[in-house]
């Protein structure tokens, strides 16, 4: 029996080896690199203690990029959730042309983020872009979308919402389609209107899917860098720089390998902690709403 159990555990080996190769080894290696002075002119794994971490603590650009990401991710995911839920509700019931709507809603998500960002860069172009043309027609002054800090952040959020709302829509629609019919029939018999049915039945029943969708999107949003690269290159100044883009600059472009290793590990830990807390808070919030 013991031999059989041992024999069975051998089947786990390939999976464990794969895991070790693609996750554990790179992670351990990154930890080692983060304590080295590896840089563009010193490709060595020499040990320099916590110097990279000390430098990182004083790197205001890194911390500002994290705070910016919290704002960007929190803001865009909330907007995506609201719009995505609305869209899912629209095509949930037997609406006319439902299939066509579903396909159309998914198009932005299917487009490569870099291509999408390039298109939006043209849309937001200060003198040739249709957004400013439209504002001009309405008698409003042109907005420097990509050359002023505030508008650039708005532009970036717009692209994120445009690109990823369909993903939220897809998850929430799947959730809606899997809901049982009985609670809705009971609500109808009780004479509940659409809004009351949504508040008391649909929304509480969708709580688990909502939490999952929001967390998945927050995880994805925490990696935001490709659209930043194309749309603003982190500018103007560093006002749209995200941790992902800053890590690219430090690690790949300037080849400060040791330093970027320290930053990426710190960022990883921060994200794990933040997202775990966010998941717990979201679950509690939705649960409370459900109970009420």
């Amino acid at each position: 029996m013991e031999a059989l159990r041992r024999h069975k555990s051998m089947f786990l080996l390939p999976g464990l080896l794969t895991l070790a190769l693609i996750i554990i080894f790179p992670l351990l290696f990154t930890i080692r690199v983060s304590f080295s002075g590896w840089n563009v002119s010193n490709p060595q794994l020499d040990f320099i203690g916590g110097a990279n971490y000390t430098a990182m603590l004083h790197d205001s650009r890194f911390w500002a990029s994290i705070m910016r990401l919290v704002l960007l991710a929190g803001g865009t995911v909330l907007i995506q959730y609201v719009i995505g839920f609305g869209m899912a509700l629209l095509v949930w019931r037997e609406a006319r042309g439902r299939r066509l709507w579903r396909v159309l809603f998914l198009v932005p998500m299917m487009t490569t983020p870099v291509v999408m960002a390039a298109i939006w860069q043209m849309i937001f172009h200060e003198s040739l872009g249709p957004v400013n043309d439209l504002l001009g027609m309405l008698g409003l002054s042109k907005v420097p979308w990509l050359t002023e800090s505030g508008p650039a952040l708005v532009a970036l959020m717009t692209v994120e919402v445009w690109q990823w709302t369909p993903f939220m829509f897809l998850l929430l629609l799947a959730g809606l389609l899997s809901l049982p019919k009985e609670p809705f029939m009971a609500a109808a018999i009780d004479g509940a209107g659409p809004w009351r049915t949504f508040r008391k039945v649909t929304f509480p029943l969708m709580a688990p899917v909502s939490v999952a969708a929001i967390i998945i999107r927050l995880i994805e949003a925490s990696k935001l860098s490709d659209s930043v690269y194309v749309l603003t290159s982190g500018g103007p100044g560093s006002s749209t720089e995200t941790p992902g883009y800053y890590l690219y600059i430090q690690g790949l472009r300037d080849q400060q390998t040791g330093y970027s290793g320290a930053m990426s590990l710190t960022y990883l830990v921060l994200m794990i902690v933040t997202l775990t807390v966010a998941a717990a808070l979201l679950a509690r919030a939705f649960k409370l709403k459900g109970d009420s």
Binding site: V40, K142, T147, T232
Partner: protein, 531 residues
């Protein structure tokens, strides 16, 4: 059975490993004897058969070791040359074109990898540092020499003695030299200079209007203060009569798109004091950054002020935008590399022969960092900014073939044609290129051609030159500088505060790389500047 197959796998693995080791560990190759030439001396050369987009211009093959005739005698059949270059078109396109020609006439197989600018440094340096012969020939920006030099093969004497190499100007031989050895093969020459719309600045009506508005004569700006006044005067005015407003200045301002070079142009006359040597970016003795000293701060204050003279989106202009803004007639002035001027002179251009070149604006005073005071005297400091260069890796298996490719790439016939194709990114770097007649043959009017060659050749005689920070880790330094400049332009920080942050970052980078290592490299730059 199982045992024998296991042994077979191990044996095969050993064979593969030994073969791989043998392949990478081979010594230099034996070259075949010369074959009959495919070209007669002085043959007519044209690019027209390679693409419809190339001009039908014909030039004569100039006799010499790098000519079509000489290189076509070489027999490199059965050998492979690996080249890494920038993305097409800038330098990447001529790399591809000359590779195709080199294949045709020598029988070599040439593999060209084109890489976007942001990835070029890493793609070249990583295999070099690992001792891998990934590429035989590399095209890259000349300011990376501090990172590259340890891995480069010095240019052999027989190539240094070619007529083409002898004709390279002193400044560009200096750029190609590191620690007394020529390690970079000159294929391009770059500097920043001023470009102006002569049809606008030379128009009597506009001159009168300018005099009435400012009390000053309208002329090509000689200082950055004048540049600002002229740019501000024309911003928003329709100088072409096409119903669209024009703007005063087009500048490279996008953070990660060469803004650092634009800023150095603006800072040069304030910070390069003709009587003060020993470093521009650092104090050579202490390696203390000077980037936050008053001269640099003044330049950044000027640049922030200039925002009002830029076209919409001008605060996010990359080099391509600057080229099109001036070259397309939108902006009245600009300063940077040659490309905007060449773009303006394109045969179908709206401002062809309506433009002029001039030295970069100077200043009425220069900051003296030894006395910590401004010295009131006119100052000019030409900026020999980085351009494209090329080199052969020490690890290249067939260095003769690699250097033959570069000598062919830059032979007189090829260069004459490459100079006329704006998108190629090849700009004058030989004395022969400073001949106004050559440009007049391209359809340039005499005064345009003369302003161009006099501006370019005039820089050569300067004793107050500015070069790039050619030290290990230069990308990190320039990235930090660009970030500071961008922060000030975006209004995130005051210029002094922004440059204080840059100085602090530079100190951190120097500590990471090693003060002595950076100082040793910087000594070469200071030697160029204190000529």
């Amino acid at each position: 059975m199982r045992n024998s197959s296991y042994k077979g796998v191990v044996a095969a693995a050993i064979v593969v490993a030994l073969t791989a080791t043998a392949c990478t560990g081979q010594g230099p190759v034996e070259n075949k004897p010369d074959k009959p030439a495919l070209f007669k001396p002085g043959s007519e050369i044209s690019y027209s058969k390679y693409s419809k987009s190339y001009p039908k211009t014909k030039v004569r093959d100039v006799p010499g070791p790098c000519s079509y005739e000489s290189i076509s005698r070489k027999d490199y059949s059965g050998q492979t040359l690996k080249i890494i270059s920038h993305a097409i078109p800038v330098i990447g396109e001529p790399t591809q074109l000359h590779a195709e020609q080199f294949e045709e006439i020598t029988g070599a197989k040439v593999e060209v990898i084109n890489v976007p600018f942001g990835e070029l440094h890493q793609k070249i340096l990583t295999p070099l540092q690992a001792g891998q012969p990934a590429y035989d020939v590399m095209f890259y920006p000349s300011l990376w020499v501090g990172d590259m030099a340890p891995h480069l093969a010095p240019v052999p004497k027989k190539y240094l003695d070619t007529p083409g190499m002898k004709d390279v100007t002193k400044a560009y031989m200096d750029v190609a030299t590191w620690d007394g050895k020529v390690v970079q093969y000159p294929v391009d020459g770059d500097r920043h200079y001023l470009k102006v719309r002569t049809d606008v600045l030379g128009d009597p009506k506009r001159q009168a209007a300018y005099k009435a508005a400012t009390g000053k004569d309208l002329r090509t700006p000689r200082t950055w203060a004048e540049y600002q006044e002229v740019a501000a005067f024309f911003s928003g005015k329709d100088v072409d009569g096409d119903g669209k407003p024009n703007f005063g200045s087009a500048e490279v301002t996008k953070r990660d798109d060469l803004t650092f070079s634009a800023f150095i142009s603006r800072a040069a006359p304030y910070v390069k004091h003709p009587d003060v040597g020993g470093g521009l970016f650092f104090d050579l003795e202490t390696m203390e950054p000077l980037i936050n000293t008053p001269g640099f701060v003044r330049a950044l204050e000027d640049m922030v002020k200039a925002k009002s003279t830029w076209a919409p989106g001008g605060a996010n202009f990359g080099l391509g935008d600057e080229i099109l803004s001036f070259g397309g007639g939108q902006s009245v002035m600009s300063y940077s590399w040659d490309d905007a001027f060449i773009q303006g002179q394109q045969p179908d251009g709206t401002i062809r022969n309506k433009i002029g070149a001039a030295p970069l604006p100077g200043s009425d005073e220069a900051y003296n960092r030894t006395t910590k005071a401004w010295d009131k005297k006119p100052n000019q400091a030409p900026y020999f900014t980085w351009g494209w260069t090329s080199a052969v890796a020490k690890a290249a298996r067939n260095q003769d073939m690699a250097f033959d490719y570069l000598c062919f790439f830059s032979n007189e016939a090829n260069t004459a044609l490459d100079l006329t194709i704006g998108r190629f990114g090849v700009n004058p770097y030989r004395k022969a290129h400073f001949d106004a007649k050559f440009w007049e043959r391209q359809g340039w009017e005499k005064d345009v051609a003369e302003s161009y060659v006099h501006t370019l050749s005039g820089m050569e005689s300067s004793t107050n030159r500015v070069f790039d920070l050619r030290v290990p880790g230069v990308n990190g330094y320039m990235s930090a500088l660009a970030n500071g400049v961008a922060a000030a332009l975006a209004g995130q920080q005051a210029p002094q505060r922004a440059l204080d942050d840059v100085a602090a970052e530079w100190e951190r980078i120097t500590d990471r790389i090693g003060k002595d290592k950076v100082r040793t490299a910087y000594r070469h730059v200071v030697a160029l500047e204190d000529n």
